[in-house]
């Protein structure tokens, strides 16, 4: 054809065109580069910046708008609690320097003097009273603070927390009290003509967009879902803290991208770390991986009301015997969890060391035969697929294990946004739920997961198995009033024993917690089992 005779002139022009385009692109970049470096060179001198990537950023600046891990992590950065948990499960004085039990229902807190809010206002007992009152306006927190009456300011730096009846968890609840600046949050906001202390989840409020806490950091820049910048508060009361001047938090929802950001050095600290990448991060030079057994128990609830077979304790026990907790932890969770046979993790008062995973397939088969179901039966199950670590895979493993004792399960998994409605509607015979105790105490598990469901008292709100045992209810309620630690522990451990013997539900494991950072900082010191890293104490070398 003619085409083949065409000469190199045109070929050259084509090449030239490509070259010109490439050159243009390069020149364009080069130009920008020069400008930028000139502008950028000046600042940055000695400022220590922590680039932090998490799976999500705080939904609001108002610490009382949502009770969630993310908001509590935010609260520990920008606010200070009265007391906070230490790594060993004790209480460390923060805004309260000391405390004493005055009577069965009154605990007195002596507040730290000379503490300033970010607005410059001094911190006094009135702020604590204000904060506690505001909790009662919050849909999320009011349930937690049911047991409390109004706080009483004795003088400027002394405040009494009063409970309606004797209550064993006053100190645990004090970790939730992050005093807010009363003067700052009082009055009317001209922007929307509403009170500044209004709590609203879906709309603009003063508190959603402004903060004045006592914490180590103030919020200086925020674009929701993109980044939030915390700058060290110059007048912070605690001189004995870390050295980070600025934290830039970027939410990175995709786990592989979050890991890549750390590996490439674009960020300094990530949480959580996906289980698949633990080995890789652990073996990378210059990175530090910290993991810890956590307090979130993952369970399957067997609905006694929906399926008559589950009403038979032998069937439930058979299922508990047929489930290989350790196998799933090793294979599915890659060792990134602690196999468990009860709600309470180690360290909780209710943790009963005698209760261990009981995998025994022969025993399980025998129990099924005893119950009259040697042939097995069929049932349904639902589980979320983006709520807990490997939730879908765990559910599939469970289905496979139950098939060995003749129980045929049809499993449906779905995203969490759709899951909880199905969970509430008790749409299946077996439902998955994980739980972390709000109070770092065993009774919280029982109240929500194991007590008889009761719409009036709100107990058993997440007990979709409908397991109901008056003894469990009685012991749990009594334990809340018991202030003697040993007696209380005995009660709580007894509850765990009853639940275990009855196989009230199938406990799987406690999820591990994980953080990864560059190795030039004291990551181990600031993380804890509650997963509230105390960034105020972070030291970068």
């Amino acid at each position: 054809m003619k085409i083949s005779t065409l000469k190199s002139a045109s070929k050259l022009s084509l090449l030239a065109l490509t070259l010109v385009i490439t050159a243009m692109l390069l020149v364009g970049c080069g130009d920008g580069e020069k400008k930028e470096q000139a502008e950028d060179a000046a600042p940055a001198a000695d400022k220590i910046v922590l680039k932090l990537a998490m799976d999500a950023d705080p939904v609001s600046l108002d610490p009382q708008v949502q009770l969630s891990g993310g908001m509590l992590q935010y609260s520990h950065t920008v606010f200070d609690p009265l007391v906070r948990w230490t790594k060993t499960g004790g209480f460390e004085p923060r805004l309260a320097e000391s405390w004493e039990v005055i009577s069965d229902t009154v605990t007195r807190f002596h507040l730290r003097k000379g503490v300033k809010f970010h607005s410059g206002n001094p911190f006094t007992a009135q702020d604590v009273v204000f904060t506690l009152n505001r909790f009662k306006q919050s849909d999320d927190f009011k349930g937690l603070f049911n047991a409390f009456g109004d706080a009483v300011a004795v003088d400027d730096h002394t405040v009494d927390l009063v409970t309606n009846e004797p209550y064993g968890l006053v100190m645990a609840m004090a970790t939730y009290i992050f005093p807010m600046d009363k003067a700052f949050y009082s009055g009317t906001d001209p922007k929307n003509d509403k009170p500044k202390d209004l709590i609203l989840k879906t709309d603009y409020t003063f508190a959603n967009y402004n903060e004045s806490g006592t914490g180590a950091f103030t919020v200086t820049d925020r674009e929701q879902g993109v980044k939030i910048v915390f700058t060290r508060f110059a007048d912070y009361w605690d001189a004995n803290t870390g050295n980070v001047d600025e934290i830039v938090l970027t939410p990175i929802g995709e786990a592989p991208t979050r890991v890549a950001a750390l590996l490439s050095g674009d960020v300094d600290f990530i949480m959580p770390v996906p289980p698949n990448d633990l080995e890789r991060i652990g073996s990378t030079d210059g990175l530090n991986l910290v993991t810890m057994s956590g307090g979130r128990i993952i369970t399957f609830q067997l609905n006694l009301k929906r399926l008559e077979q589950f009403a038979n304790p032998k069937v439930r026990q058979a299922m508990a015997y047929a489930y290989d907790n350790n196998g799933v932890v090793a294979k599915v969770m890659k060792g990134f969890a602690t196999a468990g046979a009860q709600n309470s993790p180690k360290g909780y008062q209710g943790h009963n060391p005698a209760l261990q995973p009981r995998f025994d397939l022969e025993k399980a088969k025998a129990l099924m035969a005893e119950a009259g179901y040697a042939e097995g039966f069929a049932c349904t199950m639902i589980a979320p697929n983006n709520r807990y670590v490997n939730d879908e895979k765990i559910a599939q493993a469970f289905v496979a294990m139950m098939s060995k004792i003749g129980i045929t399960i049809s499993l449906k998994t779905m995203p969490k946004a759709q899951y909880w409605d199905q969970f509430d509607a008790q749409a299946a015979d077996i439902q998955m739920i994980g739980w972390h105790s709000d109070t770092e105490d065993s009774a919280n598990f029982f109240e929500y997961l194991n007590m008889c469901p009761n719409k009036d008292t709100g107990k058993g709100q997440y007990n979709s198995g409908n397991y109901c045992n008056p003894e469990v209810d009685q012991l749990t309620m009594d334990s809340n009033k018991e202030t003697n630690v040993e007696k209380r522990a005995a009660m709580l451990q007894k509850v765990e024993q009853i639940l275990f013997d009855d196989a009230a539900f199938i406990p799987l494991h406690w999820q591990n917690l994980s953080w990864a950072s560059k190795d030039n900082m004291n990551t181990e010191d600031i993380v804890n089992v509650m997963n509230f890293p105390y960034f105020g104490n972070l030291v970068i070398k």
Partner: protein, 325 residues
């Protein structure tokens, strides 16, 4: 021209009405937005109170009617998560997506035209074979994988390019955050643009190549050769111009598809544009934002296709779009 415009506007409104209706009718399948707003401990009664306050308990037609009524006034509702009007949220996220799509389109256009023409003119050369082979790989590799591979290769292993985000941006025209004016911003653009263009580029190379080869075989091109015209004139003026027609048609449709692919690309690169916003709004059951995104993208589709029809007429005056007299 006037009648054509009116017709197109009417079409656009109809399309958006249908899209919003579909979006609205399936929104309950995405779950309860109140669930995402409250902590897990809030009782069902409390949740129901919030739903009542937000009007989420009303029947479908009442909710949809209210949405339409407000939409007439340019109010598409409020995002529960961002606590802002959705129009504001989308406006703040749109620049990121537009810049990304623009860059990816540039890559596609600047590379597909020369490569497509080259491989049509010299179908048997080694370089053409390499282009064709590579384009097969490109077409068959999912964007998600391309993106992850790029990140691992250029960020994690080589440390050449940043792994996520838009980097440093500069605000222009009051509300437009652009990444074009800083080196950091441009560096951040490289990998997402390549990933996004990786689907379209091979497709366009192949399209241009096959169209061009066909045109080169046609009688009038043979005649042009016979007249002794210079090769450059034959290729660019006679052949290429006629190659463009189907390319533009497909391009219009593909631009819309490219917007859809931003959802994946933006999610992987934590690129804060409309695509990742949409996925997150689905996860959070933030229904107002979800429906509005669908409506806005529907609008973009209509606008782009209208423009394509107009350009079509410019390239080939013999073709007259129906209704455009």
């Amino acid at each position: 021209m006037f009648a054509f415009t009116i017709k197109r506007i009417a079409q656009a409104i109809l399309v958006m009405l249908i899209i919003s209706m579909i979006g609205f009718s399936i929104k309950s399948a995405f779950g309860d937005p109140v669930r995402e707003l409250v902590g897990e401990r809030v009782t069902p009664a409390e949740r129901n109170k919030i739903r009542e306050k937000l009007g989420l308990n009303d029947p479908f037609m009442v909710q949809y009617g209210r949405f339409l009524g407000n939409a007439m006034h340019g109010d598409l509702g409020r995002s529960f998560f961002f606590k802002k009007p959705v129009t504001e949220v989308i406006a703040s996220k749109a620049p990121a997506t537009i810049e990304l799509v623009l860059c990816a389109s540039l890559i596609v256009i600047l590379l597909s035209v020369p490569l497509g023409i080259y491989s049509a003119i010299h179908p048997n050369r080694l370089f053409s074979r390499i282009i064709m082979g590579a384009s097969i790989v490109g077409v068959s590799m999912p964007v998600f994988l391309t993106a992850i591979l790029l990140i691992y290769f250029f960020s994690v292993e080589l440390h050449w390019l940043p792994s996520f985000g838009r980097g440093e941006t500069v605000r222009i025209f009051g509300s437009w955050d652009t990444g074009f004016l800083t080196v950091d911003g441009l560096k951040h653009l490289v990998m997402p643009s390549i990933a996004l263009s990786s689907i379209m580029l091979p497709l366009f190379i192949r399209l241009i190549r096959s169209e061009m080869m066909e045109v080169l075989e046609s009688e009038y091109v043979k005649y042009a050769w016979a007249k002794g015209l210079k090769p450059r004139r034959v290729w660019w003026v006679h052949a290429f111009k006629n190659t463009l027609l189907p390319v533009i048609t497909v391009g219009g449709v593909q631009l819309g598809i490219m917007v859809a692919f931003t959802i994946l690309t933006e999610t992987v690169f934590q690129w804060n544009g409309m695509g990742s916003m949409f996925i997150e709004s689905v996860e959070r059951a933030d229904t107002a934002l979800m429906v509005s995104y669908i409506v806005v993208v529907g609008f973009i589709f209509v606008v782009v296709n209208t423009l394509v029809d107009l350009i079509y007429g410019l390239v080939n005056p013999t073709i007259r779009v129906a209704g455009r007299q």
